[in-house]
Subunit: 105 residues, 2 copies
């Protein structure tokens, strides 16, 4: 059970669930209706997403609404940040190179 964000996002079904509940909270049954798996399988995905706090629950009667925790998504963004800086730097270097070539034909 590694259970970190990156491992959670690795599974395509989990990513699809995340997109699905990003806009509005849904129950496990409602989510399962969108996929070709059982509700129990979805339930396991939701458990993993809950454990790494990518998803939060709201109990309403006997139903449980799951919602995406956007702020947790930022952690992936933060990790990407170090690389984003690099690829932007390279873009600017290329940009400078090209403009210098234009100035000195």
């Amino acid at each position: 059970m590694r259970r970190d964000i990156f491992q959670a996002v690795a599974d395509p079904t989990r990513r699809a669930i995340m997109v699905l509940i990003a806009m509005q909270a849904l129950t496990p049954n409602a989510i399962a209706a969108h996929f070709d798996t059982t509700r129990q399988a979805v339930s396991k995905h939701l458990k993993i997403l809950t454990e790494c706090e990518l998803v939060s629950q709201e109990h309403r009667g006997r139903e449980i609404y799951y919602q995406l925790e956007l702020k947790k998504m930022k952690e992936i963004d933060i990790w990407l940040e170090q690389f984003r800086k690099m690829w932007e730097d390279r873009f600017h270097q290329l940009d400078n190179l090209l403009s210098n070539l234009n100035k000195q034909p």
Copy 2:
């Protein structure tokens, strides 16, 4: 063998390798020296990273230098984009709410 970027990034050792070779290309032996595993294990990680084009090779004699393909990293960024928009929207909503509260005490 799912072999997509998200699955590749899911492994912590692989992420560490990515950070390591982001700045300068390294050989499998040099990479393995940084970790508590065998060179062969690193080689397998590099194979996976190569297969999803997160890494490129440069043969120099009998040595192979591996380098991170920053442009491929953008694909993760692109996926995050849809969520980034949401969390920025929420931030602005909160921002507007706060400034409205200040204007109307």
